[in-house]
C-alpha cells in the first residue's frame, strides 16, 4: 500500500504547479506535504487522488500504475478543506453514501450499512448527531463527519487536503491530536496537505517540504527542523534570524541565540533591546544589532530574562549557539561577504 510518484509534472496554462516530482510514500505512514500556497502540494495530492491528470510522469499504487480515476474509486478516502459534505443529506446518509453507491452485488445489506455507519460515527464521536444536516453542525463536527465518510469505504489511502485550515486554533489543535491517535489505531497510509508547519511537525511521521512545484526536503519532523537542507526549509519551518558574523553568515533560530550582559566568545555582537514580549512560556526579545542594524529575535527562558533584568533600551550581547550555513541560497546571503 505504498505510493510511488515518478517524475510527475502538471501545468495550468503557463503556471507550473508541480515540476518533475518523485517521491515514495511507504505503507502505513502519515506523510505531510508542507509548503506555502502555490507550492504545488494540493495539486500533487489531487493527482494522487485522480482528480487531476498529470501532464507527464507516473503514479503507482503498490507498484501498480493507476491509469484512470475509476481504478482508484473507493480505495482512496479524501477529506476536503471545506468538508464538501452533501448538504441535502443527513450526517448518516453522508457517511453511508460510499456504501450505497456500490454495485448491487458488492453493496452491504441495509442492516450492515446501518451498523457500519454507526460504528464510524462512534469513532468520530458524533453518533448522537446522525439525523442532523451538515448546516446544523459546527466546523469541527463537519470535518469529523467528512472523515467518517472518507473511512466508510475502508480506503487503503487517506488523503487530507488542508483538513483543519478552516477551523479556529483550539479546534484545530484538538483535531490534530485526534487524527494522530486515529492514525496510530488504523495504520492507514495517510497524506496530509498543510501550510501550517506546526501541524506538519506535530502530526506527521515524515514531512515533505515543497516550494514552487518542487520538493525541497523530505525527512522526519526532527530532521527537517534540526537539519534543514536549504534556507527555504530553514525559514519555512520556524522563526529564524540571519546572523552575519565577521567570518561567516548563517541562520540561527531565536531559542539558539544566547544573550549576555558582556561580550562572550568571538562571534558575539552588541544589540539593543527594542521590545520585550513576556506572553507565553518563553520571553521573546526583539533586538537591533548595534554594529549592522540587523533586527534579530531571541527567545530566552523566563528565569534567564529575570536574571538579566532585560527591558527595552538595554544593551546586550548576542552569541549564536549554533549557526546553520548553507552553500546554496546565495539569494538570501547576498552582500554579506
Amino acid at each position: 500500500m505504498s505510493i510511488d510518484i515518478h517524475q510527475v509534472s502538471k501545468t495550468f496554462g503557463s503556471f507550473t504547479a508541480v515540476d518533475r516530482v518523485s517521491l515514495r510514500i511507504p505503507t502505513g505512514e502519515l506523510v505531510a506535504f508542507l509548503g506555502p500556497s502555490g507550492s504545488g502540494k494540493t495539486t500533487l495530492l489531487r493527482m494522487i487522488a485522480g482528480l487531476e491528470e498529470p501532464d507527464s510522469g507516473e503514479i503507482r499504487f503498490d507498484g501498480q500504475p493507476a491509469k484512470s480515476p475509476k481504478d482508484r474509486r473507493g480505495a482512496i478516502g479524501f477529506v476536503f478543506q471545506h468538508y464538501a459534505l452533501f448538504r441535502h443529506m443527513s450526517v448518516f446518509e453522508n457517511v453511508a453514501f460510499g456504501l450505497r453507491v456500490r454495485p448491487r452485488r458488492l453493496r452491504p445489506s441495509e442492516a450492515a450499512i446501518r451498523e457500519k455507519v454507526m460504528d464510524l460515527l462512534k469513532l468520530v464521536q458524533l453518533d448522537w448527531l446522525a439525523d442532523r444536516y451538515p448546516a446544523q453542525l459546527s466546523g469541527g463536527q463537519r470535518q469529523r463527519v467528512a472523515l467518517a465518510r472518507a473511512l466508510a469505504t475502508e480506503p487503503r489511502y487517506l488523503l487530507l487536503d488542508e483538513p483543519f485550515g478552516a477551523l479556529d486554533a483550539k479546534v484545530r489543535q484538538e483535531l490534530r491530536q485526534w487524527l494522530r491517535r486515529l492514525h496510530s489505531e488504523l495504520h492507514i497510509t495517510s497524506l496530509l496537505v498543510t501550510h501550517d508547519q506546526e501541524e506538519a511537525l506535530e502530526v506527521a511521521d515524515r514531512v515533505v517540504v515543497m516550494n514552487r512545484g518542487r520538493i525541497e526536503q523530505v525527512g522526519t519532523p526532527e530532521e527537517v527542523y534540526e537539519n534543514p537542507a536549504n534556507p527555504f526549509v530553514c525559514s519555512f519551518l520556524g522563526r529564524v534570524n540571519l546572523f552575519r558574523g565577521r567570518t561567516a553568515a548563517g541562520y540561527v533560530r531565536p531559542h539558539e541565540l544566547e544573550v549576555h550582559l558582556t561580550p562572550e566568545g568571538d562571534v558575539s555582537a552588541p544589540a539593543d533591546v527594542v521590545r520585550v514580549n513576556a506572553a507565553g512560556p518563553a520571553v521573546r526579545l526583539e533586538l537591533r544589532r548595534a554594529d549592522t542594524g540587523d533586527v534579530l529575535e531571541a527567545e530566552v527562558t523566563r528565569e534567564r530574562s529575570l536574571e538579566l533584568g532585560v527591558k527595552a533600551g538595554d544593551r546586550l550581547f548576542v552569541t549564536p549557539r549554533r549557526l546553520r550555513v548553507f552553500e546554496s541560497g546565495p539569494d538570501l546571503l547576498a552582500g554579506t561577504r
Binding site: A49, G50, L51, P69, R72, R73, G74, I76, G77, F78, F80, H82, A84, L85, F86, R87, H88, F97, G98, V101, R102, Q125, Y133, A135, L137, S138, G139, G140, Q141, R142, R144, R149, A150, A152, T153, A166, L167, D168, K170, V171, E174
Partner: protein, 302 residues
Amino acid sequence: MASDVAALGAKAQQAATASGKREPALVRWMLIGTALLFLGLLLVVPLVAVFTQALDQGVKVYWEAIRDPETLHAIGMTLLTASLVVPLNTIFGLAVAWAVTRHQFPGKSALVTLIDLPFAVSPVIAGLIFVLTFGAHGLFGPWLAELGIKVIFGKPGIILATLFVTLPMVARNVIPVMQAQGREEEEAALLLGASGWQIFWRVTLPNVKWGLLYGVILTNARAMGEFGAVSVVSGHIRGLTNTLPLHVEILYNEYQFAASFAAASLLVLLALVTLVAQQLVDAGRQRQLAEGQRAPAEEGNG
C-alpha cells in the same frame, strides 16, 4: 430581559418616528397612492375585467364556451406543446448548465451569450426565422415537402417556435446555482465510488433542484402563453393548429366576447397558479441559500 425588550421597542419607535419625520404624511400618502393607483389600473382592473366579461352572460355560457370542441382542441394543443417543450428544454438547460459550469472549452462565453438570443429577439422574428428555415420557400422547404412533412402551419412548427422562445429559461436559472455549488461535492462523490449517473441523480440534481424548478415553472408559463412566435408559424387553422392564446384572439376578432374571455380566463388562472408556484419555490430557494451561507460560526466539539 424585560427591560431589554422595552428598550428595543422604544428604539424601534424612535426609528419609526424618525423615518416618519423625514417625509411629511402628505408626500408619503401621495407616493403610496400613486403606486396603488398604477397597480390597480394596470393589473387589478384588467384581471377582474377578464373574469367579469367571461361570466357576463352567466356560468352556463362560460361553461359552454369552454366545452366548445374548438376551445377544447386549443387547450389540448397548448397542453401538448407544453408537455413536449418543458421536458426537452429542461434536459437542454441542464446539459448546457453542466457544460458551462463544469468544463472549460473554446467558445464557452459565445455559447453563454447565444443562449440568451431568444430573449433578445422579438417573438415575431423568432417565428419568422422558422418560416424562413422550414417554410415552403425556406431553406429546408423543398426537402421537407418531398418527405411530406409539414412543419410550418403545423404542429411541429408550433412546438419548434415554442422551444425557441423558452430555450434560455432553465439554463439561465440553473447556471448560477451550479456555479455557486462548485465541484467539491461531486468530486467527493466520485472518490467515494459513485458513477456519473449516480453523481448526477444523488448529488448534482438535489443541489440545483430549486433553481431547476423555478426554470421549469417559467418555461411552462411561457410555453402555454406564447403568442407572437406561435402566431407566425401556426397559420391559425381552427381545430388543427390553434393554441389557447391564438384561440382567444380569433374569438375576440369574431366578436364572441364571452367565449373569448372564458378562454382567456383559463390563461389568467394559469398565470395565478404560476405565481403561487413561483412563490413557493422561491421560499425554498431562499431557505437553501440561507442554509448554505450559515458558515461554521459556532465551534466547540462534543
